[in-house]
């Protein structure tokens, strides 16, 4: 691990280790005592990275990143939030158990430094089930789910691609001022915001104390975005289709624009 400092010429290493019996992030400098390093990180290293970057100055950082971290970092980089010159990735391949828990379809980092790649999880049954439902059934299902929301903002604060400091959803403009639950629009607006950047890490769902199947929602919308615009979040080459012109695409005529 410490090879990262030499090979990648990083000044710091962002990783996780055991602290007081729990997994905790740690930012190491060259020569620091590494302690008990952990690979079963229960949060997004990308998220931590974004928070520590302002304090690093000109230091280069190497970060232990799973595939989802890697994709989130790509989205951050596209938005100018990270300087790619200053971030190196130490690829961490998730094990079969982790992949299963996340119902992950894309578990293997572009370069693997730690662990071994396993197969992607089979198609998400929940997504298929939900998509098979009729409109009224879907509405019934999601109404019941959204009603459970405590508006704790766990989904947003644990999300690696929710960048805003102050969330729009904290204001009454778009969610009626009725306390909890926050109204039907809340998770839909979040869906729109995440449509061109969600990396399907599943943190929102894991963070949700009300067990709302947010990852399933994310996946369904990502699928639509891919179908409609061919865009996949985390692909470092592609700019969000929501921000670009239709250049090169067939001009949509007068018919069936929506």
């Amino acid at each position: 691990m410490r090879l990262a400092f030499e090979e990648m010429k990083a000044d710091r290493l962002l990783a996780a280790r055991t602290e007081h019996g729990n997994v905790a992030p740690v930012l190491l400098a060259k020569g620091d005592e590494p302690g008990e390093m952990r690979t079963d990180v229960p949060y997004q290293m990308a998220n931590i990275l974004l928070r520590v970057v302002p304090y690093l100055g000109s230091d280069r950082v190497a970060v232990v990143a799973r595939r989802c971290d890697e994709k989130a970092i790509a989205e951050m980089t596209k938005r100018g939030l990270l300087d790619p010159e200053k971030v190196s990735l130490i690829g961490l391949a998730c094990d079969a158990e982790q992949v299963g828990a996340c119902r992950c379809s894309d578990p293997c980092p572009s370069t693997v430094h730690i662990g071994e790649c396993v197969k992607a999880a089979p198609a998400d049954n929940m997504v298929e089930d939900l998509l098979a439902k009729s409109m009224p059934e879907r509405l019934k299902f999601w109404t019941a789910q959204f009603r459970k929301c405590n508006k704790c903002f766990g989904c947003t604060s644990n999300c690696p691609v929710c960048f805003c400091d102050e969330c729009l959803l904290e204001e009454k403009t778009f969610t009626p001022e009725k306390g909890i639950p926050p109204g039907f629009a809340f998770h839909l607006i979040r869906s729109i915001h995440l449509a061109d950047k969600c990396v399907e890490c599943g943190e929102c769902e894991r963070a949700c104390p009300a067990d709302i199947p947010l990852l399933a929602l994310r996946k369904m919308i990502n699928r639509d975005v891919k179908e409609m615009f061919g865009f996949v979040a985390g692909d470092s080459e592609m700019t969000s289709p929501l921000l670009t012109t239709l250049d090169g695409e067939p001009m949509e005529g007068d018919d069936d624009v929506c």
Partner: protein
Amino acid sequence: MTGFRPTILAFCCNWCSYAGADLAGVNRLQMPTNVNVVRVMCSASVKPEYVIKALSQGIDGVLVLGCHIGDCHYMTGNHRTARRIPLTAKVLETVGIDSRRVKLDWVSAAEGDKFQQVITDFVEEVEGLGPNPSKEVRF
């Protein structure tokens, strides 16, 4: 569905579709009374949040009307509209609000008759869909 009069919100861009709506008025083209127009400068300024807010709070349909692609007063403003609004409709459909309640179309300043047609057709379509079920959703 007899007697159901949907409430519809329409965002019209100042340069083409609002002008087209004005032209429909000048030409006294008769159409259903359900549509309430909000003027915005460009269809691209219509936040998906507005559409979601309206439809999740019981508005029966939302129309977003802009200049034809290529004719946008702001060059490529409506290119963004062309992506955002269909996606918004998809998101709504995912959770059970029929995407046909969101309509994006292009109406130029010269198309008073098209404005009339779009309004008439959309009202008819939404009437067919019945009241927005989100109206019944109580939180």
